[in-house]
């Protein structure tokens, strides 16, 4: 196992907290746990028990994807 835990800070001006939450729900089954902590400026994800390298990157990608889709939907457009 190359790495088992990761901490990712998503800046709230760039990532919607609900998008990070959706990504956490999607990746939850593949790791031991994903804990989210919201601060004024960041949503911090503590990922534990990753059994595959790159899972944290994929999780962050998913959070960005959800952010873009939701941001555009809120503006009345499509992704």
């Amino acid at each position: 196992m190359a790495e088992t835990s990761a901490r990712i800070a998503f800046h709230r001006s760039l990532y919607l907290p609900e998008a990070v939450r959706v990504a956490a729900e999607a990746y939850g089954p593949y790791v031991e746990s994903i804990e989210l902590v919201d601060t004024d400026i960041e949503t911090i994800a503590e990922i534990k028990g990753m059994d595959r390298e790159g899972l944290d990157d994929a999780f962050a990608n998913h959070a960005l994807f959800e952010t873009v889709v939701r941001t555009r939907a809120a503006l009345g457009g499509s992704a």
Partner: protein, 146 residues
């Protein structure tokens, strides 16, 4: 409009051999443009955004496939091109927003057009009824010869 090409010439990237990163001035590269370009790259690369300063966005791209230096350079170049596309798209959208709003408003609220269309339809209806009480259509050729 300011000279976008001149502004974008300043776009440079750095690499650590595994990923490339750009630090962008949000005044030149709006967040919508950064999102638009990122959205098109999430299937090929892991994209992560950070905010190193209030008006700066850092974009990190890590290819999903194993990549050498040339591959990273290619990825950076393609992202830069797409970012330029998206910046132009956003700016054109902003600069034409008023015109679009004007046409939408005109289309929705201009009664005069609707009135003239209604009048024209009524006029056509009236003509048909006068010439053809049963409203059986007559081909143009027959009508001209007869």
């Amino acid at each position: 409009m300011t000279d976008i090409t001149q502004e974008l010439e300043e776009l440079t990237y750095s690499t650590d051999g595994r990923r490339v990163s750009f630090t962008l001035d949000e005044a030149i590269y709006p967040r919508d443009a950064v999102y638009g370009a990122a959205y098109l790259f999430v299937d090929r690369a892991f994209v992560f955004l950070t905010r190193p300063a209030d008006d700066r966005i850092e974009v990190r791209l890590k290819p999903k496939e194993e990549s050498d230096k040339a591959g990273l350079e290619k990825l950076a170049g393609e992202y830069a091109n797409e970012l330029l596309n998206q910046v132009v798209r956003v700016r054109v959208g902003e600069s034409t927003a008023q015109i679009r709003e004007y046409y939408m408003a005109k289309a929705f609220f201009a009664d005069s057009n609707q009135t003239s269309i209604d009048a024209l339809l009524a006029e056509l209806d009236a003509e048909e009824l006068e010439e053809d009480p049963l409203e059986i259509s007559v081909p143009w050729e027959d009508a001209g010869n007869g």
